[in-house]
Amino acid sequence: MKDPVLILGGRSDIGLAIAHAFAAEGHPIQLAARNAQGLEVQGKDLSLRHRVEVSLHEFDALAPDSHEAFVTGLEPRPGVVVCAVGLLGDQQEDERDMAAAIRVMRTNFEGPASVLGHLANRFAAEGEGVIVGISSVAGDRGRGSNYIYGSAKAGFTAYLAGLRNRLAGDGVHVLTVKPGFVATAMTEGLDLPAPLTAQPEELGAAVLRAVAKRRNVIYTRPVWRLIMGVIRAIPEPVFKKLSI
């Protein structure tokens, strides 16, 4: 039997698309989210389509005190964990309302870092495991239009890089996924350019491939690696004056 795949943020379109990609390969799926019982329809759909076991797990990214017990209680042991927890927020509102800004930062960085920290310790002790973190191209450089979300993702990206470095000798692999635009509930209503916008299913397939090939960092769509390379290369005196 194949290793179960744990999806943190099991309600998100990206998390579910990745779950479908792994389930199609015969992996049992563990969906973890707040109000996990509300994921019954999604769980049933996964198990009917792919004939795999699907279990639902109560998980709150914003309750780090509960994370250790959550990780210890996972049975059977997941072989792959995908963290698709995220909150885009509203940049302009979050500039005024620091409580809202903190919520964005905690959801995108503190929560994921905490739960993956516990999982990393468990995987390291067991000598195997794969950690997939869904970060964002927004973390590649702080920009006026989304730096609150972006800074949290930057922190998460650095955290994943550090985990990868720390665990490389322990048989634990860490994959950082940096999606650009993805057509999900998070971006619904935004006018996204079609050639740069991935469907969640595309992301699912890309993550599955990247895990199989032990890739370290992937951009989806790949063109984003180029775009962010250019954005990172712009000198700060010029960059600060851009409306970007």
Binding site: V41, Q42, K44, D45, L48, R49, H50, R51, A185, E188
Partner: protein, 447 residues
């Protein structure tokens, strides 16, 4: 204003004022409160059935399979689930849809709304015959479960109701048990219309005859070649018909190579000469394969699904599909007249398809006992003029038209051909459905 949408024929293209993609029943009700809307599935109806200048409701987020009972074959699913999803999930368990159109990329909701038929209408009726229940968001904004026994009026009206009776949210569909993923096909070349119809009638008269029958038709043939066709009879293959190697894995069929049409073909690519040459080649290639063979389900039912965006071969202007059914007694003279008009105009198509339909018991679905002819034309002034002529011939022979294919009929022609639709229009007015559910097609055709 949203970007323009179109059906599979890419004609017409209409930008809806609002395009909403609800993820819950509540969101559907919310959209309804904002004004009249039409639900849209995967955009596989050909014309303007799922288009509107007003509000279009993209139902593709309703994509979950809810339950399956292998004892009864009953699958329960949300309206945006594709037939192809059901096949992928349940063929490995030995189940296949009782009724399927020529593409697996239609949604459950769309298949019910258009009450689609397949190559087995004579044996198994239309799609709606296998629907156990439908959950509908009614004009009043309530979720109502409809079956043949309870709320049966709304149930019957919704089957073939083109989304004009409410928004289909979820449904229960009974699947057919099959022993394999293969079809035992018998390919019979026919030199003309009379020969093709004789093969159909022979099959129809035999109660143990083939489940599926369909003919590909050369509507550009001249003289003796007018109506030459390949009649394909088929049945779900039984386990013992497979080779021992395949018998071990009866539902595994070869992965098909996927092709794509990346660009719109230029307007001059399709003309009577290229089409005549293509049709001649197709006929001869098919005639060489005459006789029995085993064909995998995907190639048998969905040959065009292997070519993504095949609708682009008709160029940027798009195409109009014509599909009528003629009552049995009038089929022969009516088809001859239709074919003569098409051949004379030289406006042929790749795919002219002839099927034998069985008796109809629905409220207002397309099929009736007789023969149905379907073909497509690039949208040109000459083709549109020919289509008007074909409408007239159909009407003269007591035939009717398939709304899922239509983009251009007049209200007058439609209502003259099918008096049942006046009843639908009347009910819509008296129940107030017309204020909630409307498509570009329903406005054009005064439904």
């Amino acid at each position: 204003m949203s970007r323009p949408l179109s059906g599979w024929g890419r004609y017409p293209k209409i930008a809806p004022e609002t395009l909403a993609r609800p993820r819950s029943d509540a969101a559907v009700a919310e959209a309804m409160a904002k004004g009249p809307l039409i639900a849209r599935g995967n955009g596989r109806s050909y014309g303007d059935s799922a288009l509107s200048e007003g509000q279009v409701l993209d139902m593709t987020a309703f994509r979950h399979i809810l339950s399956f009972d292998p004892q009864t074959g009953l699958v329960e699913a949300e309206a945006g689930v594709l037939l192809g999803d059901l096949i992928a999930a349940f063929l490995p368990l030995g189940f296949f849809p009782f009724v399927t159109p020529g593409t697996k990329l239609v949604t459950l909701g769309g298949a019910i709304a258009a009450d689609v038929h397949g190559k087995n209408h004579l044996r198994d009726g239309s799609f709606g015959h296998h629907v156990a229940w439908i959950e509908i968001m009614t004009a009043e904004g309530e979720v109502l479960r409809c079956t043949r026994a309870s709320n049966s009026g709304l149930f019957q009206q919704t089957i073939g109701g083109m989304g004009l009776t409410g928004v289909i949210l979820r449904a229960g569909l009974t699947l057919r048990p099959v022993e394999t993923g293969w079809i035992a096909q018998d390919m019979r070349p026919a030199r003309d219309l009379a020969e093709a119809m004789a093969i159909f009638e022979e099959a129809a008269a035999d109660a143990d005859g083939p489940t599926y029958s369909v003919a590909w038709f050369d509507c550009l043939g001249q003289g003796a070649a007018l109506g030459r066709s390949l009649v394909m009879l088929g049945d779900h293959a039984r386990l013992e018909q497979l080779t021992p190697r395949r018998r071990a894995r009866p539902f595994v069929t070869p992965e098909k190579r996927r092709l794509n049409v990346p660009l719109d073909a230029p307007g001059f690519a399709l003309n009577r000469y290229t089409l005549r040459a293509f049709n001649g080649l197709y006929y001869r290639a098919g005639a060489r394969k005459a006789g029995p063979s085993l064909v995998d389900w995907d190639s048998y039912f969905y040959p065009l699904d292997a070519i993504a965006n095949w609708n682009r071969i008709y160029g940027r202007r798009g195409f109009a599909q014509f599909q009528c059914v003629l009552p049995l007694a009038e089929a022969r003279p009516g088809l001859e007249e239709l074919l003569a008009a098409i051949s004379e105009a030289g406006q042929g198509s790749f795919l002219a398809v002839l099927k034998r339909l069985g008796p109809d018991t629905t409220a207002h679905s397309f099929p009736m006992e007789g023969y149905t002819l379907a073909l497509d034309f690039p949208v040109t002034p000459a083709a549109l003029a020919l289509l008007d002529r074909l409408d007239k011939i159909t009407l003269d022979h007591g035939g009717r038209f398939y709304l899922a294919k239509d983009s251009r009929l007049t209200a007058q022609t439609l209502h003259a051909a099918d008096p049942r639709l006046a009843t639908l229009a009347e009910t819509r007015r008296s129940e107030g459905w017309d204020a909630r559910f409307a498509s570009a097609q329903s406005r054009r055709l005064q439904l």
